[in-house]
């Protein structure tokens, strides 16, 4: 039946499915950021939100973060976890092209060719390091066994490979030609997701639903209309031109206004972490340790005053296996001598969003300052923050990060020294070795224990100070939306076809 629907959709100039549902677009207002639909080039959560709707991989995540088979029908694990065989289900891209194992090989190869951050996670694929330099597909342990069967060979067993393949970064793309791993992906390139890009502009992006999906709600959005830049999301929400607010903690007055308009809250962003990044090139170890010790996560979470916000004691979100707890943080702080350095630190932070009720920078300044030690606040915009983070040019930055996929390892790999996405200034061969070793541990309990040890090592570099986890940002949806599943990973992990429109 599904095949029939898909064939009909691909054979008709104007898909019948899209014709039926013009009436209920979901409107999302995003800040003025440089968005991409290329899963191997995205570095921000907004792009990930769009990629997730347009592209699909062998596996996917449910709104709750469960791994589900997507383009895969069944699979086998052989040779003690060193070899996988994936059998593809019958599926097409939005232009009607049948998805084959060649698309899978080319798409996974492109991750390494483009140096995408997920490559740090799936380095266990055999020949990945060699392929990054040779660019020869024969060197990579991904092979097309037949049109519908793909073989994936690993250097070492990995219990994370399915979770990693379910990440939006591992989307299967419609790549053809003799040099499939080269080139950039056009914004309107067909994908395997239930939405396709019909408009891609600097200020407006429109996605159209072209096929049903097995996670569809009863009334999924027929269109997703994204406005980029311009008025803030909150202003657009109050003006009834935005249906989603995902980033801001709102004051009581604003909250009341939205509630009056019929907005509702759903569980979201529980895995999002706020942290301070300390640049060791600019801040001496003594100061970094002082700031680390002086940051009381419990007091901070209490000051935020939201039940959905919890103290962050490590880099793996609380509730995710392998997370640290208060005792770990106490032990880390106890090892730091009590002394106040002389000097000053420059804390960079995004300028407060209108209506936001809590300013982390102000709270930190109060907590850190002491006689002889000063904290200077330096406001900056979102794009500058990203630039400073990735180029390592900032001094002390307040940043945020969600999960790429639902395993603590997805956070830990950000601390791998060999990848650009490591903006935490942790360059430790010992930690790299620990990460490699952790990936080989198949028993989840043992692996999670190793995660804890790795976090201790990361935090002892004193370049990152955990602050809080969770939805200090609201998951607010307008009255035009009837239902949204809980999505603890944040909006960027939510398949929008699961949203039910009125």
């Amino acid at each position: 039946m599904k095949l029939g629907v898909l064939m009909l959709a691909s054979a008709t100039a104007v898909p019948a499915y899209a014709k039926e549902s013009h009436m209920n677009p979901l409107r999302i207002a995003l800040p003025d950021v440089e968005l991409t639909i290329d899963p191997h080039a995205m570095e921000d959560a907004y792009s990930m939100l769009l990629v997730l709707q347009v592209h699909r991989g062998l596996f996917r995540y449910s709104p709750e973060g469960d791994v589900l088979p997507d383009l895969v029908e069944s699979w086998e694990e052989r040779d003690g976890g060193r070899r996988y065989l994936f059998r593809l289900r019958d599926a097409t891209f939005s232009d009607g092209t049948k998805i084959t194992s060649v698309h899978v090989v080319h798409s996974l190869a492109r991750i390494f060719e483009r140096g995408a951050s997920i490559g740090a996670d799936i380095e266990a694929i055999k020949g990945a390091k060699t392929f990054r330099s040779t660019k020869r597909l024969a060197d990579l342990g991904v092979r097309a066994v037949s049109t519908r069967v793909v073989e994936l060979e690993l250097e070492r067993p990995s219990s994370l490979i399915l979770k990693q393949l379910a990440a939006a970064d591992c989307a299967i793309l419609r790549l053809d030609g003799d040099s499939p791993v080269e080139g950039t992906l056009p914004a309107t390139a067909p994908g395997a997701g239930p939405y396709k890009v019909t408009t891609w502009g600097a200020a407006k992006i429109i996605l159209e639903k072209w096929r049903p999906d097995h996670l569809d709600s009863e009334a999924p959005p027929a269109h997703i209309e994204v406005t980029v830049g311009g008025k803030s999301a909150l202003e657009q929400a109050l003006a009834d031109t935005n249906d989603v607010l995902d980033w801001d903690v709102l004051d009581e007055k604003t909250t009341h206004s939205l509630k009056t308009k019929g907005w509702r809250a759903y569980v979201t962003d529980l895995t999002l972490e706020r942290f301070v990044i300390l640049n060791p090139a600019r801040i001496p170890l003594e100061v970094r340790r002082y700031l680390f010790k002086k940051t009381d996560q419990q007091a901070l979470a209490k000051a935020v005053g939201k039940s959905s916000v919890s103290p962050a004691y490590g880099v793996i979100p609380s509730g995710v296996p392998g997370a640290l707890d208060a005792k770990d943080m106490e032990a880390l702080k106890a090892a730091i001598p009590t002394s106040t350095p002389k000097g000053k630190v420059r804390l960079q932070h995004i300028v407060g969003t209108p209506g936001a009720s809590f300013e982390f920078s102000a709270w930190l300044k109060a907590a850190w300052e002491a006689p002889g030690f000063e904290v200077e606040l330096a406001p900056l915009d979102h794009n500058t923050l990203l630039t400073d983070m990735f180029k390592g040019t900032g001094e002390a930055l307040i940043g945020g990060k969600g999960l790429d996929y639902f395993d603590g390892y997805s956070v830990l790999t950000y601390f791998r020294s060999s990848y650009d996405s490591n903006y935490f200034h942790v360059k430790s061969p010992a930690i790299d070795a620990e990460l490699d070793a952790a990936a080989t541990i198949l028993d989840p309990a043992l692996r999670h224990r190793r995660y804890r040890a790795i976090q201790h090592d990361i935090l002892r570099e004193y370049t990152v100070i955990p602050l809080v986890f969770g939805g200090y940002s609201a998951g607010l949806w307008s009255e035009r939306v009837q239902h949204v599943p809980p999505h603890p990973g944040g909006l960027h992990t939510l398949p929008l076809e699961t949203v039910k429109m009125r």
Binding site: S62, P63, E64, G65, D66, V67, L68, P69, E73, S74, W75, E76, E77, R78, D79, G80, R82, S159, L162, H214, L215, D216, S217, E218, T255, L258, K259, W263, R264, A265, Y266, V267, K306, S307, S308, A430, E434, A437, I441, L442, D443, P444, A445, L446, R449, R450, A453, A474, L476, H483, P485, P486, T498
Partner: protein
């Protein structure tokens, strides 16, 4: 059966033996006496006949004065008598002492004979005397022949009875006696008693009675035996169960002791190494390496202890929503296998389960451990899932190449039942059943020599917040 065959036959046999000679003798005497009596009456009748005829002839002759006619008539009369069967007699007819005629129908008369005289008065006043000598031989002979025939018949009957007796004894009584003895023996065996204890009479009036008594004894003994056997069987089962329990407890204790020692010894080695290690990097490496081992062995010990605790106490489940695939993958990765084991996943279901994850992981772990042990390091383990009802999911784990006999399938979930396993407490599958049942599900096993063994279980599906019924969905007021 109130009348016995054997005494009757024996009585007949004894009676025949005891009475045949007197009977024959008596019969002969009787025959002789009867033949004498009959001969006498015949003689009387013949004498009367002769005398009457002679008188008539003589009277007629007196009238005619022709005495010669008397002789002729007498002679004709004699011939007639002979023709009538009265040949064995002679008669002298005399008048006044002078014999006037003699009858000799068949010549000599053989003894014994009887003489009878009949006198009559002739019309002329003269006395006619008829003297008849009749032979008794014919009658004696006839009756002796009858007696002999009867005697022979008696002997024949005796012989027949003897033969019959022998045949009866051989064909009926002896087998019956054997049967009695066998019954008695069986009774004695089943009752662990002697035949005497069973009160089986060997010299009673009849074998049939013996048989009846023996059968009654046997029935009684069997009845007693049935009760005793039931009691003995129960005692034996109890004893075996006790032995099995003791053995299981001993095995469990051994396993617990062994697994408790393992982390201790790892800790000991680690501590001794750490005490000698001064380099921080190597110190950390050593800690990391041994901590994993300690953790692993302690986790195994902890799982064992939980097994023991769960086997006795009531289960308080700590349920939450769990992804089916995450659950399956966790179970798979917690299972150590040889490289030659292939795992196949036929799971297209997007379902979530509402379960006590740790406990269900133990269930899956137990099944997988058993499968891996049974496969001897080679083959395919397949995970399958399909929705059973709207609120239940059926999860299957199959392994190739092993077969569980039908008679063992029902025992698999019995505590302490083990077969062919080198280690283990025998509690795994029993606890698995408890855990699955506590979730409101069921667990069962199917095994086929050509396919392998599959464990199936039904588990409750979780509340679904997408692609599910509207009334099940949650929404929250803005906070």
């Amino acid at each position: 059966m109130n009348k016995d065959l054997m005494p009757m036959v024996a009585l007949l046999r004894r009676s025949f033996r005891a009475s045949v000679v007197p009977f024959v003798v008596g019969l002969i005497i009787l025959a002789a006496a009867y033949s004498g009596w009959e001969g006498y009456h015949d003689a009387q009748r013949t004498t009367a006949l002769v005398a009457g005829h002679a008188t008539a002839v003589a009277t007629a002759a007196i009238s005619s004065q022709d005495l010669l006619s008397v002789q002729r008539e007498i002679k004709r009369f004699g011939d007639a008598l002979r023709d009538d069967g009265h040949a064995r007699m002679t008669a002298d007819i005399s008048i006044d002492g002078a014999v006037i005629a003699q009858l000799r129908p068949s010549g000599d008369v053989r003894p014994p004979t009887i003489d009878l005289v009949r006198k009559s008065q002739l019309p002329n006043g003269r006395e006619l005397i008829v003297t008849v000598e009749t032979s008794l031989w014919g009658s004696v002979w006839r009756w002796l022949a009858i007696a002999m025939t009867v005697s022979l018949a008696g002997f024949g009957m005796m012989l027949a009875s003897d033969v019959t007796h022998r045949l009866f004894v051989h064909r009926v009584v002896d087998p019956m006696l054997d049967a009695v003895r066998q019954v008695a023996t069986i009774a004695s065996r089943v009752d662990v008693a002697t035949a005497e204890d069973l009160d089986v009479p060997h010299s009673s009036v009849s074998e049939v009675e013996d048989m009846v008594v023996a059968v009654r004894c046997l029935v009684s003994a069997l009845e007693r035996h049935r009760h005793d056997a039931a009691a003995a069987t129960k005692a034996l089962v109890d004893r075996e169960r006790e032995n099995a329990r003791n053995e299981a407890v001993a095995r469990l204790t051994q396993v617990l002791a062994h697994d408790a020692r393992k982390p201790m010894s790892h800790l000991k080695i680690m501590l001794s190494m750490l005490a000698r290690e001064s380099d921080p990097q190597r110190f950390r490496t050593a800690v990391g390496r041994y901590a994993d081992r300690v953790e692993e062995s302690m986790a195994r010990f902890d799982a064992l202890v939980r097994d023991v605790l769960d086997s006795g106490a009531s289960l308080a489940l700590d349920t939450r929503d769990v992804s089916l695939i995450d659950l399956v993958m966790s179970a798979r990765y917690a299972t150590q296998t040889a490289d030659s084991v292939t795992f196949r996943f036929d799971i297209s279901s997007v379902a979530r389960l509402r379960i006590d994850e740790q406990r269900i992981l133990r269930v899956l772990g137990n099944i997988l451990d058993n499968a891996v042990q049974a496969m001897d390091g080679r083959g395919v383990i397949t995970f399958m899932a399909q929705p059973t009802r709207s609120d239940m999911i059926t999860l299957g784990i199959s392994n190739s190449g092993t077969f569980i006999p039908r008679e063992d399938l029902d025992k698999l979930f019995t505590p302490f039942f083990t077969k062919g396993k080198r280690s283990g407490t025998g509690l795994g599958l029993a606890i698995a059943e408890r855990i699955v049942t506590a979730h409101g599900g069921a667990i069962w096993c199917e095994s086929d020599a050509s396919i392998g063994t599959t464990f199936w279980m039904t588990l409750p599906s979780a509340h679904c917040d997408w692609g599910c019924k509207p009334e099940e969905r949650r929404a929250a007021d803005i906070v």
